[in-house]
Symmetry: T
């Protein structure tokens, strides 16, 4: 099983900025912490980050045939990007959406995800651990 | 650690009705399947179901001092109950909201959760496994 | 054929309060008046009333296998209860929604029924006779 | 007692088009099937259809003094015609609104009836039988 | 100067129905009462009524070159007809919109006129006298 | 008969500013032009202008017993002042609302009048002549 | 005079939870503090609390003939319960709505009360003293 | 303790106009009736009325240091005045908002108070007695 | 192949009125210009215009079995007619919607087409040439 | 060049109240600090403040011919006053709107300015320095 | 004549994914199929695709002087990109908007095009043939 | 002090396209004109432009530690980019938002800035001079 973990805009700042909302782990820490989980689950993991909506669309579009599932934290693009939604729907890979913070407890424009309707499900507010649960959920889904 | 798992209206029908959305497990199966996970995590688990909004409010109100955390699937009341939200906020226990189906992919009135803003986070669309991730997330939160 | 007639909040006051809107018949009168109609249609009738949303959900959830059809006047819960809608949809029994008054001629919040989309149809504004037409419609549907 | 049954736009296609929604009866069948019911109720029946909003307004405006009650299925005009509503309100005859399909289970713009607030009540979703219940309800109302 | 006075749906019932809103004058009375005013103003008057939206559009479309101005009481079509608005805008004749009742004091859907933005102005709530003021205003405008 | 003509904010600039919308007559010209009309109608006229919402409320509140009717052009306050509406409703004098320009053809926030629902009617878009038709309408109303 | 004081969901937690919003008095303290006021006003007082919407509807429905007036703090149900509103309207007893906190200064969904329109009036934000003013207002109303 | 009682637009007409809504007491009667209450509470009372929004803003702005609390019935300005809200918030005196009628039972635009969020609380629908409860509540607040 | 080209309200004025929006071709010119295109495509063409919504519904309803496809420019009815939409959906002929002007660049109420969702597609803003592309598209669709 | 600086409601409290939002400078300090800037720019400055909407309208209406430009901080009236907008538009002087605080970061009702569309531009959130930039911008505009 | 055909996000997947909506042609096939049409029309064609909003803005911004017209299928960016709209408006080249599927028959958020108002017109729902009609329309426009 | 001036989509066209809205200065002219101002203020200035949302997010994310403040004209992204807002909020540098045109006087979708709430303030409508005032405001803020 191969899984692509996609991180969207400003997540390169994780752990460096606003730790009271996103925690002190950096994105590298987060990815490193996922490695043993992936190994336990027999998953080959690839972790990427970009601030570009088009780059995310490129990567998702190219993931078909290369990966078996996706974990996506589209960050700000969650609420504004029809393009990422369309990419996700087009490739049709099972996807779990993750948000580190509880988006439903923040500004109203963060309550709506354009991407959630084309994913398996959504995990939010459980900190960087959410990526682990997403990975485990994806593994269980792919082996069901 | 003691955790109360609360299930709201119509979840007594789980596995018996509409399995294409909620799967074939019954609520009893679901609770049984959580037992070894709880044991692994050193959690004393209690699993309840009710169709009554008032009953849910009673149970949450009485959970302070009796439990260390809550897993709540308020089902239909998720979208209509200010009373459950207020109960949850009042007792202040760490809570993970769970939905078996992906509420963001169903009717628009199911996209909004009145309860999510007063929870740690929300897991939806990952089937009955969502309860397990919620339990694990709660355990990690309580021991952090 | 067995049919359950469910009456929601404040219908216990029927005939006792606001007769200019609901008529002077009591709920008991209404049920009694349905008996010969049910007999004519070879229907075994059961008539219940409750002010509790959870109780309505309980009864609907338990109606599968026990009844062949439902007549529901959810009264105020018509406009606010996703739980009753879900119960109805889950058990999947043919249901006719009845309202004694013309809900479309009253306050705007009474114009929308959360329950109607999961029923066969809706009858409103025809007084307590609406229950009779609902029963006849259900019988015709069940024997079609 | 004389009753005018008015059918609006596209109902001339009844039974010929989209039978999965409206059934296989033609409008003529429907009217024929109402005849014995009308006789049983001592009602002189007149059944008309038009695709013209203005024609419907003409007929309703001319019905005062000629008829004792109306059964109206305004079809698409239900949701857009203030003119039919005004005609109905102006002549003041007791009217029952009928829809063959359950308008509350279709597109959102079909959930609102501009005409319902000036009728006795509304019957929808009970197929072409709805006309019969409307006729019976009107007879009971007129002889009450 | 030639002026066409157009009356829309249900105005044929004027004086016969709901006199508490529209007064006891019939449409014929109203037109007769306008004759001496027209004569005083040197206006050749033509007074028409129809319940058909398409008929109104026909008449307005044909009025260019035949009339110098229009007085329109589109009644219910005021709030729903883009077609009449377009006809009016296309022929470009100076037009005064009239309503017998005060539309701003009735149901909210009567507060908006689709036609007003393409007229010189609007007179409402002044009873059938409104037609006279409209005629005088039109005369003054045409001779300015 | 005594009639008070009230003019609201910025109408002191009439004829001096933006003549393409309001014409070239000054407010004084307008009032002077009303004098012979008032005389013809046996009306004692008083013409006032203020930029103050409170001043308008004062004058309307004091008009009961002093005047038989009001002509009000509340200008910008038309769309924002509940206070003027309440004053008008409280004193209960027959009132005609006037606007020089066609408010329905301007910005959307000018389409709604808070004052219209408590007036006899509204005249707009007929230039400063609207005051004359308002006066004539008021006279006819008061002598009916 | 007999007055029923009804307290809705989560008010059993009063004084125990979130004292910064609701104060430190328990519900029992609150009721005890009302006793001498009731005695001064010659009122026989009964104080009840429930988390159940249906229970509130039951109690209000049964209050006719048993009580002369109601003081209701419906808490969360204030904003969601058409059933309690209908119960209140049906029994027709004079009612004063009370809220301990200033609901207009909290989340937007708390600004609207479905119950207020069928009460005499509303008191909010004056802490638990609001019950005393409500009782005094009710007494003055009943003896007026 | 010094308390300023501020009355907004049209309240000078109290008892003179629309007594079915506001009662037959004049504003002078109301103020006179508050005097013994104030004396009982050791409050020096000042009662003012104005129709001017700016005047209300002036008075509130100048009240800091001169008064210990405010009772404000802003009448129509309640629903439209950000300026009064800002004044109130700026001076920061404890304030109780009063409305004689039940604003929640009147037109929808009266249901929202721009001022309530910056007050201690709101009393409405209890007639002119509301001022007395406001005064008592303010006294209790100031001496708590 | 037989194709019916339907033109709605005010299109009889084409080329005669507002040429800056619709061009200088008359409707007859437009139809004449389509003839050689139809011949090239082996299409028997019929071109009709009406200002009547009911007439359009009649024609569409009667087109089944008589025509193989429709080109519809419903003009103003595009934005208001559920009846035409229903007719189109009922007969189920492949239809291309045409607008001469760019409806998305005009008033907001012209941006929504009730008819588009039941058509193959929509062409707008390309002038009277749009009819030609529609015909070609229909031919290609019918021969695919 | 003569410039009028207009300050709206509650700005007389500047520096005295809520300094965390508006700073500690008084309005007098602010005006004094503008004097050398005005001198540098060869501007004759006049600085006024009022709490009255009507007074602001009076001053703006009278500014034509007396001043070459305006700097307006309408404070609370920014969001509610069509009258000030109309005054500004009528006199047509180049105007810069200033707000001391960042209105876009405060309550949602402060995000919309009715006045901005008729000004050159808007400066907000830059503290009392905003007046200086406004003055400099106006000078540059007037001398361009 | 030189025409640039711009394709937006996910169109690189055309023919590879979701063929039931977009057909089986690849983007390369589509461009190849346009070549003979372009030759027939004497158009030099350039066909590009990108997933990047910024890249589309770059290309449109650079098209002035290089091309005579544009055909744009902005796909998902159609509904979210003000930047592309601004680019299009800025360069001012005649543009035809194309969508392969009927966007008006899909999710509501696809019904609105931010780009359409600054284009000549829009073609949607006619499959990949839409590009051909767009090219022909552009040629006719450029040679008119 | 180091300040980064960021320019968003289509600003590379400044002075080349639509000079009636944005003036005739090119972006290079604008930056050149800022140099002496920056020198006067002892600011090291860097001026960049991109059409890419992701590129803007990259630059802002990397600005922490490298710059002391930001001047941002996000152009079209102002109204659609949550990502830029999040970047700005994350790095926490004092920022002044600039718009060359008066966005409040253009289309309604340009009235809302997603970025303004996380900036010090906003300057709009003052042409390219707005950048200078922004720079001066930033300098004053940083040295305060």
């Amino acid at each position: 099983m191969k899984v692509l973990v996609l991180n969207g805009p400003n997540l390169q700042l994780l752990g460096l900025r606003k730790p009271e909302i996103y925690g002190r782990e950096t994105l590298q820490d987060l990815c490193d912490r996922l490695v043993p989980v992936a190994e336990e689950l027999d998953i080959v993991l690839e972790c990427r980050q970009t601030n570009g909506e088009g780059q995310m669309v490129d990567w998702i579009g190219a993931s078909a045939g290369m990966f078996d599932g996706l974990v996506i934290n589209a960050a700000a693009y969650t609420h504004t990007s029809v393009a990422i939604r369309d990419a996700n729907e087009a490739v049709g890979l099972p996807t779990v959406e993750v948000h580190i913070s509880n988006i439903h407890a923040r500004e109203e424009f963060r309550h709506t995800s354009l991407i959630a309707p084309v994913c398996l499900g959504q995990i939010c507010g459980l900190g960087t651990s959410g990526y682990e649960w997403a990975l485990r959920a994806l593994a269980r889904h792919l082996t069901a």
